[in-house]
């Protein structure tokens, strides 16, 4: 186990720059999720840590060693690939034993470690099978087994759950998290799925266009997103955003061009008249007579909650209620955001306005 330090790392393919100076420090034993939309550079960064891509500039340390120029096998990392990358001509046992065999470990030690990993992952019955004879979830487990057997400094996961169906994905998510709690190996996990990031991570790194947008604990990112990108990316259904201006004449309010007004609990100094974006999470609306007029468009009950798409001025917003209101499309309702839980962002820079 080891800490990982990424210092001002950059990557260019020819003249195309894909990562523009990324700094991340990962503590020993931490579970860090790199999350972002496709093409944000998260997989490239992971592959640079693994040694599958060269580092154009900057420095990556694993433990005390700078690994920039070390070949992958000397970095002591194990990687789980999106397509599992199991060796199709080897049995499950041989797949897991391969790295130790290459290292020339004694057969007794190989057997012991493979068996231990198989017990942890529930693969004992499958050791003599070939990858083609396994289901998707089982293959995923073998890929993890291959990583566990190595007992590496760092586990790297590259979108390991994307090829699984929705139900299995939720199950494997829990399994991976349990595995980490048990082994406590430093883990870097890449995904584009913010739910995976939220549920699994000790620390989330949100990436966008080759830059880090925000680093923090899942709930910190949810409660205090640094900028519009993070606000929109984390959370499902996504945060509602309304464009307008802050008005501090009299009681502090936020005014949309359509005349819709939201009262504010206060606003940062000097923000009067500034173009801003007002953000409110769907679950922070309540029905109240002093709320804002809205017209129900679509009602989506999920059983545990009720999602209501409503028209608020010109903006379509989503509100989520735990109660089972009997709304119909076209109903007029009054929605009141909780003023303590709203977010204000500068419209031009996208940065959070402290409030």
């Amino acid at each position: 186990m080891a800490s990982v330090a990424i210092r001002d790392v950059r990557k260019a393919f020819g003249s195309t720059h894909v990562i523009h100076g990324v700094d991340i420090s990962i503590r020993d034993g931490e579970f860090v999720v790199l999350v972002g939309p496709s093409g944000c550079g998260k997989s490239t960064l992971l592959r640079m840590i693994a040694g599958l891509e060269n580092i154009t500039a900057g420095e990556i340390r694993i433990g005390e060693r700078v690994v920039n120029n070390l070949p992958p096998k000397e970095r002591d990392v194990a990687m789980v690939f999106q397509n599992y990358a199991l060796y199709p001509h080897m049995t499950v046992a041989a797949n897991m034993a391969f790295s130790m065999k290459l290292r020339g470990a004694p057969q007794s030690e190989i057997d012991e470690r493979v068996n231990r990993a198989a017990v942890i992952l529930g693969l004992t019955q499958l050791l003599e099978r070939f990858p083609r004879q396994l289901s998707g979830g089982q293959r995923q487990r073998v890929a993890m087994g291959r990583a566990i057997v190595r007992d590496p400094q760092v586990f790297l996961f590259d979108e390991p759950l994307s090829n699984l169906d929705a139900k299995l994905r939720v199950q494997m998510r829990t399994e991976i998290k349990e595995l980490h709690q048990r082994l406590k190996t430093t883990t870097i996990y890449v995904t584009h799925d913010q739910i995976e990031a939220m549920t699994m991570a000790d620390k989330i790194v949100v990436m966008h266009d080759g830059r880090v947008e925000q680093i923090g604990a899942p709930l910190d990112l949810y409660d205090r997103p640094d900028n519009l990108f993070v606000a929109g990316f984390i959370g499902s259904p996504a945060m509602n955003m309304v464009k307008g201006r802050i008005n501090l004449n009299g009681a502090a309010v936020f005014e949309a061009p359509t005349g819709v007004k939201f009262s504010l609990n206060g606003a940062p100094a000097g923000s009067d008249g500034r173009p801003a974006v007002y953000g409110v999470r769907p679950e922070h609306f309540s029905l109240s007579d002093d709320g804002v007029d809205a017209v129900v468009q679509v009602v989506e009950p999920t059983g545990s909650e009720l999602q209501v798409v409503a028209k608020l001025g010109n903006d379509e917003i989503i509100a989520v209620f735990r109660e089972r209101h009997q709304f119909k499309p076209g109903d007029k309702i009054r929605l009141k955001p909780d003023p303590r839980l709203i977010h204000l962002f500068d419209e031009t820079t996208g940065k959070r306005l402290t409030n």
Binding site: L52, P72, K73, Q82, A85, P88, Q133, R146
Partner: protein, 319 residues
């Protein structure tokens, strides 16, 4: 479903039970047989029938211009004591084994090379195919000039470099002639092996190499433990074809040496042609051709059982 529908019609049988013929028309297994019938007819007419005829011919004493009578295995007994026949068997085995082994080695090397990120990759791949595209007779004629006792460019070059004093007699000396035709066959056969293996290499997922790299495999170990085992099915197929083509080769030899000097390069195919068509001994020629069948069957069986052993390919995929 069908039974339920008929049951409801009940005792009247008004709609009529399907006739045996109608059932046959709709049955999936039979439908498959119907679709195969045209292909099977062609194969029987143009492959199985001539083969059978050839085997029958080998049991007769037919000559050109005279239909023969059944003489049992007399042709084979005759061949058993014929040293030229045994020489041709030796030549064919030498030709096939040496040429196939080198074609495999060179072809695999080229395939691995072409699978790398080389500059002008597409052009290089096209160039490799040239020997395969040129009609065999044309390339054989080119080799005939290259091996010419007086005008050989190889002799000329070596002489001008001062490496040899006199021209090499490529096709006049027994062993020279054998190696020369083997070289020509290799030159012609390598592209087929290389391009087919290249296609096989490209089906190997790059992430397997990445996984192996992280697992600590060196370049040689990646080849030994990943590339080679994953390539074995295609190697088995391509080498079976290569062996079959080489074993039955005729054109190259016929243009270059006609089996000479003193039968040193006679293959079974050329000897068969010479005995049957040139000398007119159709029965004896057919017997030589028929004698090739066990060798070819052996080659096919070896690769067949080689393929059968690979259990990892046959697991069901259920993801």
């Amino acid at each position: 479903m069908a039974e339920i529908a008929y049951a409801r019609v009940g005792p009247k049988q008004a709609l009529g039970a399907p006739t045996a013929w109608n059932r046959l028309k709709a049955n999936h297994n039979w439908l498959g047989a119907w679709f195969m019938l045209p292909a099977a007819a062609f194969l029987i007419l143009f492959l199985a029938y001539p083969l059978g005829l050839g085997v029958w011919l080998s049991l007769t004493d037919t000559k050109i211009g005279r239909s023969g009578v059944f003489i049992g295995t007399e042709n084979y007994e005759w061949l058993w004591d014929d040293s030229v026949f045994w020489l041709s068997v030796f030549n064919t085995l030498l030709y096939t084994i040496v040429a196939s082994a080198i074609k495999f080695a060179v072809g695999l090397y080229l395939a691995l090379l072409l699978n790398e990120n080389l500059p002008f990759k597409a052009i290089l791949r096209a160039l490799v195919l040239i020997p395969f595209i040129v009609p065999t007779v044309l390339s054989a004629i080119a080799f005939w000039w290259i091996y010419d006792s007086q005008f050989s460019i190889v002799s000329w070059t070596l002489r001008h470099l001062g490496l040899i004093a006199a021209n090499i007699d490529f096709l006049g000396d027994t062993w020279n002639a054998r190696w020369s035709v083997i070289f020509a066959n290799i030159w012609r056969g390598v592209p087929f092996v290389a391009i087919t293996l290249l296609a096989g290499l490209q089906t190997v997922s790059p992430s397997l190499y990445e996984a192996a790299t992280i697992d600590g495999a060196s370049a040689w170990q990646r080849f030994r433990y990943i590339t080679y085992p994953l390539l074995t099915p295609i190697i088995a197929v391509v080498m079976t074809f290569s062996v079959l083509f080489t074993f039955t080769d005729f054109q190259l030899i016929w243009v270059l040496t006609r089996g000479g000097p003193v039968n040193a390069t006679h293959l079974m195919a050329t000897l068969s042609y010479q005995r049957a068509i040139i000398a007119g001994q159709l029965g004896e020629g057919a017997a030589i051709s028929t004698a090739m069948i066990p060798f070819l069957l052996a080659a096919i069986l070896i690769s067949w059982f080689g393929l059968q052993r690979r259990k990892w390919q046959q697991g069901e995929s259920n993801d």
